[in-house]
Amino acid sequence: MKITILYGTETGNAEMLAEDIQAEFEAAHDVNCQNLSETSPDDLAPDRFYLLVCSTYGDGDLPASAQPFGAALTKAQPDLSQVHFAIFGLGDSEYDETFNHGPQKLATLMTACGAIQLGPRIAHDASGADLAEDLAMPWASAVIALAQTALGIPA
């Protein structure tokens, strides 16, 4: 399956996780990895599955590299009804009031444009005991399986 990992990052931690996911799945799939800052909503294609990896920054905001993409979704309201995505969030529960608000905002913007979200939005907690990749790999396996069904691609 064709998979694009799109990351929104401020400190680089989401970029590192996105690259880890790419390394994990590129043997079995056609995977590329791209910064949301270099992605336009018009680039999103119906025959690819999008794995979004996004942090939260500031007071529950999108991280800097996801902000232009988020703004483009808000402004242009493109029709994404053929686009399938799943989203993994990075956050820090020390800031509990805004914990994982960034990925939540991004998911809401995507679905508001009609995009189809597969699987749950998982939130990693930087102040918790788990490593992000230990949560992200099982999540990615599960949502890739869902996407194969949704996109009608034999496993």
């Binding site: 401020e10 400190t11 509990d96």
Partner: protein, 413 residues
């Protein structure tokens, strides 16, 4: 592309720069030197012990040494163990990313009284930096001067209960010190009006969770301001009256420091308010958190910056660059330095004119007791294998002990 690059300082700016350089040009030899036997600088010794989520960026930096091929060379003091000139002769490029570790002084009468401490120095002591002075006796009424996030870190740690420090890496000494402090009034004073304070609102929100304090907001008046100022005012007023604890946490704004007074130990701070009236605040100690400056002890930072060829691009001179706070002064958060480092990496790669005859790290061969990244991994393992209850790490604070553990097995470079 080839070339030998030496980055002085293994803190966030130096690490982000090594990361950006090696991402663009994986064939480079990038050596990251630090005066301490351990890497990550501010992440380990500046970021507060209860902000483990922020400290988790160290995992990203570790990749630079584990996978991208950068070399860590710790326990080398440039200026003492090797000169900057020697490094410039040995490497195609030298980058100064040594940060700013000196506390800026108030520069008013009484600022040398006993009982006056710099926030950076106190932060390093709380983080068990090997060169930090002992933690001081603050008395019942410490006064923090400064309205930025460094001031908030100190304020929050001083106000936290032992239970609220669970999960941090605050060491036994600092933990005991906090438990024994008998603070009943903790005051924080800023020069600017409240809507122009440099606090991050997300860090103010953390204060609402403190169980042991009652927050008093003073000097807040409605004022014409922008959206950010409005949000800040809302955050501040939202804290007023939280959380019914016995200790008073008092915010004051718009007060310009005039003098500190006391016989030999500080007893009061004197300010001027917006109406030019004098405001006196009694205190048992003063913690200044008004910014950082170069210590200029081994590296003549201020002279290098003054003679810089083009400071905005990071060029100090031929094949010599500055990054991070060392370049731009004590402003900007950790991620802002990531962007800066990416820009500087492009500049360096555009300028780079490698000379294969340069010695590179062989020039460091005579320096004794150098630690490497494997050595850091041994220290890290020793610190995390059996931390005390409620802590995620037990820091080794002795430089000698760090070097011993780093060199316990394997060979050093």
């Amino acid at each position: 592309m080839t070339g030998k690059i030496c980055i002085i300082g293994a803190g966030p700016s130096g690490c982000f720069l090594a990361q950006a350089l090696l991402k663009s040009a994986p064939g480079l030899e990038v050596d990251v030197i630090d005066a301490l036997p351990v890497p990550f600088g501010l992440v380990r010794y500046g970021v507060a012990a209860d902000h483990q989520g922020t400290k988790a960026i160290a995992r990203q930096f570790a990749r630079i040494f584990e996978r991208q091929g950068a070399r860590f060379l710790g326990n080398i003091c440039v200026g003492r163990d090797i000169t900057l000139t020697q490094l410039q002769a040995a490497y195609d490029v030298v980058v100064l990313a040594a940060g700013l570790s000196g506390d800026r002084r108030l520069g008013i009468s009484g600022d040398t009284l006993s009982g006056v401490y710099g926030a950076g120095s106190l932060t390093r002591a709380l983080n068990e930096h090997p060169d930090a002075p002992p933690l001081p006796v603050l008395g019942p009424r410490p006064l923090i001067i400064g309205n930025g996030n460094v001031a908030l870190d100190i304020l929050r740690l001083l106000a936290k209960t032992q239970a609220e420090l669970e999960g941090s890496d605050l060491g036994p000494g600092p933990s005991q010190w906090l438990a024994q402090n008998r603070i009943d009034h903790l005051t924080i004073v800023g020069r600017a009006a409240p809507e122009r304070a440099k606090f991050d609102t997300v860090m103010l929100k953390e204060l609402a969770k403190l169980s042991d304090v009652t927050i008093q907001m003073n000097d807040i008046a409605p004022s014409a301001t922008d959206a950010d100022g409005e949000k800040l005012l809302q955050s501040l007023t939202g804290l007023d009256g939280k959380s019914d604890g016995p200790r008073q946490l008092i915010f004051r704004f718009g007060l310009t420091p005039l003098a500190l007074t006391g016989d030999t130990h500080v007893r009061a701070a004197h300010f001027s308010n917006a109406a030019q009236q004098q405001v006196d605040i009694p205190c048992s100690s003063v913690i200044t958190a008004i910014g950082f400056e170069a210590q200029n002890d081994w590296l003549p930072r201020d002279a290098l910056i003054q003679s810089a060829a083009d400071l905005s691009s990071g060029r100090l001179g031929p094949r010599l660059y500055a990054a991070g706070w060392f370049r731009r002064g004590p402003r900007g958060t950790i991620p802002e330095h990531r962007t800066d480092a990416q820009i500087l990496a492009r500049t360096i790669l555009a300028d780079l004119d490698p000379d294969a005859g340069r010695a590179g790290r062989r020039a460091l061969g005579q320096i004794k007791q150098v630690t490497d990244f494997d050595g850091w991994l041994r220290i890290d393992a020793a610190e995390t294998q059996s931390p005390p209850t409620g802590r995620c790490r037990s820091k080794i604070s002795s430089r000698l002990r760090m070097v011993q553990i780093a060199q316990q097995e394997g060979t050093r470079q």
